[in-house]
């Protein structure tokens, strides 16, 4: 079973995981928004 007790190292472990989650979030949202934005734009222009 997972043990989330990290004692005196909490100040290092939790920020490391939080930054990892934030960077993953940034990369995922960035990639999806980039693809969606240009797909819409390409479809709009091809209809004209």
């Amino acid at each position: 079973m997972p043990n989330f007790e990290v004692g005196k190292y909490a100040a290092y472990i939790w920020p490391a995981y939080a930054i990892t989650a934030a960077v993953f979030g940034f990369l995922i949202v960035g990639a999806l928004m980039h693809a969606r934005r240009w797909r819409k734009r390409a479809e709009e222009l091809s209809r004209k």
Partner: protein, 240 residues
């Protein structure tokens, strides 16, 4: 013609493949990531590192994958430069953004491990410095592409930079043996260096990172293909 260039010359085939492959890789990444995190938080603290061993499960995969991405970036740049494949150029551009993100993660999570273990956030150690150079190469690649109005010229110059920069990969890998480094030697490639109890979560997280990169790379390439199609359509509309 080999399979890879043939595949890269056909954007339609790539778009059809990536349409289902990107979400499949994404699901694999989420499942493996969940298993890896579960295993990583279930192992006992290390007898030397204590609970900070849990940082290893997010740091080591990021450190490995940022080198793998650079190899893809240089390979795609070579194909774009030699064969003038547009899709290879899209792949290189897409890899650079992701590579910068993963290298940033490797540096930051390493600092959070280094502070309690070495007593310093940063040391000008050969391994750390060479990974910083890798990060700067990614940033330089992206900056070079963004700095020129002529996209073809920017792509060519950035491709040359990417190929020249590949010399940093063996330097990173052998930095712990060529120099007296504070950073520990290769754990994953040395038999017996890693206890099996830590190996399972580490390898699972590495596979999760690889799958996540695969998914994000495909999505970013798709976005780049759409962008170029939109710009070509806008140009045609302006000329009409």
């Amino acid at each position: 013609m080999t399979w890879a260039p043939a595949f890269l010359t056909n954007p339609e085939r790539f778009m059809a493949f990536s349409r289902w492959a990107a979400p499949v890789f994404g699901v694999i990444a989420v499942v493996l990531g969940a298993i890896g995190l579960w295993l990583g938080w279930s192992v006992p603290p290390d007898y030397q590192q204590g609970a900070t061993v849990r940082i290893m499960f997010i740091h080591v995969p990021a450190a490995i994958i940022c080198e793998v991405i650079y190899a893809f970036l240089a390979g795609a740049s070579l194909l774009a430069l030699v064969f003038r494949h547009t899709l290879a150029d899209c792949a290189a551009q897409a890899a650079a953004t992701l590579g910068a993100g993963f290298t940033f993660l490797a540096l930051v999570t390493g600092a959070f491990w280094g502070r309690p273990m070495w007593g310093a956030w940063w040391v000008w150690d050969a391994r750390l410095t060479s990974v910083l150079v890798l990060f700067l190469l990614y940033v330089a690649y992206l900056a070079l592409r963004a700095s020129m109005d002529d996209e073809t010229k920017a792509a060519r110059n950035a491709a040359i930079l990417a190929m020249v920069g590949i010399v940093v990969l063996p330097v990173i890998h052998y930095s712990v043996t060529w120099w007296n480094s504070l950073h520990q030697g290769s754990t994953m490639l040395t038999k017996g260096a890693l206890a099996p109890v830590y190996a399972w979560p580490l390898y699972t997280m590495l596979l999760a990172y690889l799958a996540a990169f695969g998914s994000l790379w495909l999505v970013r390439i798709r976005g780049e293909v759409w962008r170029r199609r939109a710009e070509a359509a806008a140009l045609r509309a302006a000329r009409a």
